[in-house]
Symmetry: C2
Subunit: 483 residues, 2 copies
């Protein structure tokens, strides 16, 4: 729990003392979410949900611009459908919630609450697809899913989470792989440009790929404690599900071929990544492009006479800014002390605070304070709009550049096993050689808790030796401890 000090100044745990507790404190102090009475589930509170809505709006548009259409499929999946793809059911059955009673009766066939929707969607696709003309089929849905979680953490690991899941069918392998990679790129642009989180794109190892996929592509982000967060994935499913669900199309020559498929998703987990990338010991820090409130105005007065001067002027300022397009602006008219208001909005991560008192009104100027750097400056009313636009862009860029510099600084090229262990222990990302041997991958994980996050696309071929076994390797891959 947060310690409550006088004047409502909540003292967050410091990152250096307990990163995990700090994370929980930030969420509580910004009032983003809380644990529900249902074990592992969370309540996303209005301020947290507003961030998700902003994310949804942008990503939904990007997905639609890539010719994908939204639809909606049932929450409940007949157990027999889930079992159709062998690896898929093995991967998910330990996590599913099962409905056995409904409408006052015991069901003859149980239903699984969707942990992901490949099976229920592909049953439909098998009926929708007849000929090559029906391809590509490009579908997305925004939905809730349930994966039973024993060690829940708000946003990062919750039994129920919100996400979008895309599902496509193509006429050949090449086109399917192109789509899987295209979606990864759309996620990358979205996450880097809006969430200001730099990511490393790559391919998952065999043991880390999605249950039922041919290849899984992933975006890995570095949190401030040096651990990795898998922030979005895109799967080339090959023909695995098409064969299990009989998704076939008639080709021009009359022959039947199984479709080639992809699926890809991004969830509320991403908000956990957003928090852990930018926030500080004071609380949440939000990139302007996703902030529900970009600018908070704190009016300052002591006497009633001052208030009478300040109020109408602030109203004018807000109207002027809104007219010019700065709509995410709010004034804190509450009766708290200005200092308390500063702390309150800092904890909520609002990018810019404007302080306006009676003297400022007289001088036609005001104080602007940046949440990211804490820097204050005086700004004339005449140049206020332009300055705010500049600052919002600058904060967005600064957050990204800072996170990128941190990621680069803490990503180590490693050649020896002892250095590997040391760098992982120090909370770094490690780029090292590996012989593509799953047994070695397991040993590394057991000894260091580090997993293969991905085989980065950016790594060039080079000859090297597996950091653990000494066997030959052609490419460095990314290891880290992960959420």
């Amino acid at each position: 729990m947060l310690k409550k000090q006088k004047r409502e100044k909540l003292q967050l745990t410091k990152r250096i003392d307990d990163y995990s507790q700090w994370y929980t404190d930030v969420i509580q102090a910004a009032d983003l979410a809380e644990h529900a009475p249902v074990k592992g589930c969370m309540i996303i509170k209005p301020y947290g949900y507003a961030i998700w809505e902003n994310m949804k709006e942008v990503l939904d548009q990007k997905i639609k611009e890539s010719d994908v259409k939204n639809a909606y499929f049932p929450l409940l999946i007949p157990e027999k459908l889930l079992k159709k793809e062998k690896k898929h059911v093995e991967g998910f059955s330990p996590e599913v919630a099962v409905v056995t009673y409904a409408g006052g009766k015991r069901l003859t066939e149980a239903f699984v609450v969707r942990p992901t929707s490949e099976t229920i969607i592909y049953e439909a696709f098998s009926r929708w697809i007849h000929s090559r003309r029906d391809l590509p089929l490009l579908i997305n849905q925004w939905a809730n899913v349930i994966r039973w979680e024993l060690r829940p953490r708000l946003f990062l690991r919750t039994t129920e989470f919100l996400w979008q899941e895309g599902h496509t069918v193509h006429a050949d392998e090449k086109e399917a792989d192109k789509r899987a990679r295209l979606m990864l790129n759309i996620y990358k642009d979205f996450i880097e440009q809006y969430l200001a989180i730099p990511v490393i794109a790559g391919k998952k190892s065999e043991s880390e790929k999605f249950a039922g996929a041919l290849h899984t592509y992933t975006l890995e982000a570095m949190m401030q404690d040096g651990k990795a967060l898998q922030i979005a994935t895109s799967h080339n499913l090959g023909q695995n599900f098409a064969k299990a669900f009989n998704i076939q199309f008639t080709d021009e020559d009359g022959s039947s071929t199984f479709g080639w498929q992809t699926s890809w998703g991004l969830s509320t987990r991403t908000i956990g990544g957003l928090i852990m990338t930018h926030s500080d010991d004071t609380g949440l820090v939000l990139p302007p492009r996703l902030a529900p409130i970009q600018i908070i105005i704190v009016p300052i007065w002591r006497t009633e006479e001052d208030e009478r001067k300040v109020r109408p002027e602030i109203k004018n300022i807000v109207e002027m800014l809104q007219k010019k397009g700065l709509e995410k602006i709010q004034v804190d008219w509450s009766e708290k002390h200005p200092g308390e208001k500063y702390y309150y909005w800092e904890r909520k991560g609002v990018p810019i605070r404007i302080e306006v008192g009676p003297r400022d009104i007289r001088n036609k100027e005001m104080v602007l304070a940046r949440r990211d750097t804490g820097k204050k400056e005086t700004c004339n009313l005449n140049s206020l709009y332009e300055r705010l636009i500049f600052l919002l862009n600058d904060i967005q860029q600064t957050l990204f550049q800072k996170a990128l510099a941190y990621q680069k600084e803490k990503t180590k090229y490693v050649e020896t096993w002892s250095d590997f262990k040391k760098q992982i222990r120090n909370g770094n990302f490690v780029l090292a050689h590996w012989h593509k041997d799953s047994a070695i991958e397991k040993k590394i994980k057991k000894e260091t808790q580090a997993t293969i996050r991905c085989i980065p696309f950016s790594q060039k071929e080079e000859s090297g030796m597996c950091v653990y076994s000494g066997k030959p390797s052609k490419k460095r891959i990314l290891f880290a401890r992960a959420y």
Copy 2:
């Protein structure tokens, strides 16, 4: 199943022959939705989902403008929470789906998949609310809910449906009632202005009100078969749930008071009402303000030379219209015969079709066809944009006025029991007197299948006699058979 005739002209069942089958045919022909392999559940296909997205976008904005904030609460409700409000659990327990296994184990406490979220939300509200300053609390969520359905019909009655549910807490009864009525008015404006469905607003009788509510306000719409559809409801919950969930606030004088609450919702069922209000024997008819595609252009050519002339001109026309703000416009470049394209887009209810051939291009004119009336007209390219704007507005108004005239024509003032039975049998709405006696209400339902749809706000007080019992009554109320 639809009969397939040559040239892909699907023959829908006529309304006069079988209204229920016609409804199913319209949905299939427009490709809006289909039954899922999960009994009672539906798959909302892209075109149907696009209508829901348009509805969501408008309604979400209206809800937010009334100071309500979105949030998200868990899908799963501990059984003991559901049981806290006695009438509520009685109302919903026959319909719920129950999760008894999860994470590979039998659960010690079962979870109910939300049929509505009063209980899970009010448990949180009881923790969030302390003093009068925390009120009013105004929350909405967009979610899926499950109510086990034995006689499913696409959109109208499905085991899973999508909706928004609003939940508010107020300091006194008057303010809560005001909010419940405000939300009903917001729904009314939305449904009349966007869905072009005229509705009758009123209060439910005691036996028809929401399980756990003090008063239920409702909007009732007339379908083309004269049956009523309850299209949205808003409940004044009084203090029932506040007492069950201990939602108390400290008043200025230090005393504790239970909160006064409301809840209100609108679901995908509304799409069923949209279909049944405006569509005809050819297929779907959509009001322009909610149509995913407002204008479809069908290019016409015979020779390749013609095609070379028509193609670039159509591209220019589309660009011009989009630049001016008509974004929901599409060109059917498929290789079908123009006649097939006409049928295809008519079945999908696109409000305006533009036909453009090489002669039209030469004359700088084109043919515009209205989906609602079937009327065609020639329009000069110079006035195209203005004419389209006029037609879109006119179609929107015409659909509403037509439905309103139909509703008025089929709403009968009835004084005698024999006339009552006759008018109900003929598929009319009946305005008649009733003595507020639940036993009589039951008898009427048993003998005629008609229920009290609402006590309309618009009905003035007048002295009369109950149409069944002859006992004195002060107000006419609305009876009808209903979906």
